[in-house]
């Protein structure tokens, strides 16, 4: 018995049928999905990508404000910036410590923003709102896919980033106040 020749093996492989009929009709299982409403474009991947973009945007805005050092007259803060508790899907809740810290920062936010120029304030408010929408979107995606660990991590990260932005706004206004004092 000799070695099996590679060429003959290759020739035999090429003669194997490449088209094989399944033993049963697979279409009914496919048809169920096809006739269902088209899957929403908002997939976990989109949610993650959007969250990253929005977090970068929010961070950039705060950084811009920090380096520009703009300040203006104190005015009433736009009331449309509303923060809501998200559900973390149907199975998740933020911890009490996390929520307390967030609530405190949100409560101070109006006072902090009042120290900034209207333009700066509007930019921060807009970015925080967009960031908040991203959180809601991730949360919504979690409702549909509650076991998605990446989504869970992204949501926690987004919340942390929101806290970070809120804290940086606080730090920024303290700097403004110090400059005013000087």
């Amino acid at each position: 018995m000799t070695e099996l020749n590679d060429d003959k093996l290759a020739a035999a492989a090429r003669r194997l049928p490449t088209e094989i009929s399944p033993e049963r009709d697979l279409w009914p299982g496919i048809a169920e999905a096809v006739h269902a409403p088209r899957r929403a474009l908002w997939t976990p991947m989109f949610a993650q990508a959007a969250a990253i973009v929005l977090l970068i945007g929010a961070s950039s805005a705060v950084t811009y404000v920090a380096v520009s050092g703009q300040q203006g007259p104190v005015t009433q803060v736009a009331p449309e910036l509303v923060f809501e508790q998200t559900a973390f899907g149907s199975r998740y809740n933020v911890g009490p410590g996390f929520q307390n810290a967030r609530d405190e920062l949100v409560a101070q936010l109006d006072l902090e923003l009042a120290r900034l120029s209207p333009q700066t304030r509007a930019e921060i408010a807009a970015n925080l709102e967009v960031l908040h929408e991203a959180i809601l979107d991730i949360d919504e995606a979690l409702v549909r896919d509650p076991d998605n660990l990446m989504l869970q991590a992204k949501l926690v990260k987004a919340y942390r980033e929101e806290l970070s932005v809120l804290r940086r706004v606080g730090g920024l206004t303290r700097n403004v106040m110090m400059r005013n004092d000087i």
Partner: protein
């Protein structure tokens, strides 16, 4: 080995639907309509390509049930991703890529494949039963017994004719790795088939 080259009756050869009665124009029209959510057009695409996709899934998984699931998943994914099909490659090639990704995804998330590979390793010294229905079937069974990596490369390269570069791209491995896996597959197949008495 000469017997190996004699095409004989095979489980795989029972119904070879090539769907050559439909031209490229039909396919292009079905694709356009399916992109507009025409389920009947997509069913036509399914009928045209199901044997190609199922054949690939069956050869890659070596398991009828897995192949059926992979085929269904692949077509469902194709339906969901149809808007992204730009016609840069043939629709069949695009479907093949989706099918390969589906198979790989299922394997990664399935303990069954690991169990199956272990079972192959445990029985690798056992000669294949000499086939009484044809040596091509024996070759198919020998391919089924290959470890996943070697099997996937052998199927895509040796059976379906994809280049190492194409196979590597579809499997997410380097071209050199594809060549190495093919070499491994040939060696393992030769060992198995020698035990059956095939000669060069």
């Amino acid at each position: 080995m000469s017997a190996l080259l004699t095409e004989n009756s095979s489980d795989y050869s029972r119904t070879m639907v090539t769907a050559t009665s439909h031209g490229a124009a039909d396919e292009a029209a079905w694709i356009r309509r399916a992109k507009r959510s025409d389920a009947r057009a997509f069913e036509s695409l399914y009928r045209l390509h199901v044997d190609k996709v199922y054949g690939l899934c069956l050869r890659m998984t070596g398991n009828v049930s897995e192949a059926e699931d992979c085929t269904q998943d692949a077509f469902i994914q194709a339906w969901n991703k149809l808007q992204k099909f730009r016609g840069d490659s043939a629709f069949a090639t695009w479907l093949h890529r989706i099918a390969v990704n589906t198979v790989l995804g299922r394997i990664r998330s399935s303990q069954r494949e690991r169990d199956r590979i272990q079972a192959v390793a445990d029985t690798s010294s056992t000669p294949l039963a000499l086939g009484d229905v044809g040596e091509l079937r024996d070759l198919s069974e020998a391919i089924d017994r290959l470890p996943a990596g070697a099997r996937h490369v052998f199927v895509l390269h040796a059976v379906y004719g994809y280049s190492h570069k194409e196979a590597g791209s579809m499997l997410g491995i380097a071209t050199g790795t594809s060549k190495a896996q093919l070499h491994r597959a040939r060696r393992l197949l030769a060992q198995q088939l020698k035990q059956q008495g095939f000669e060069a």
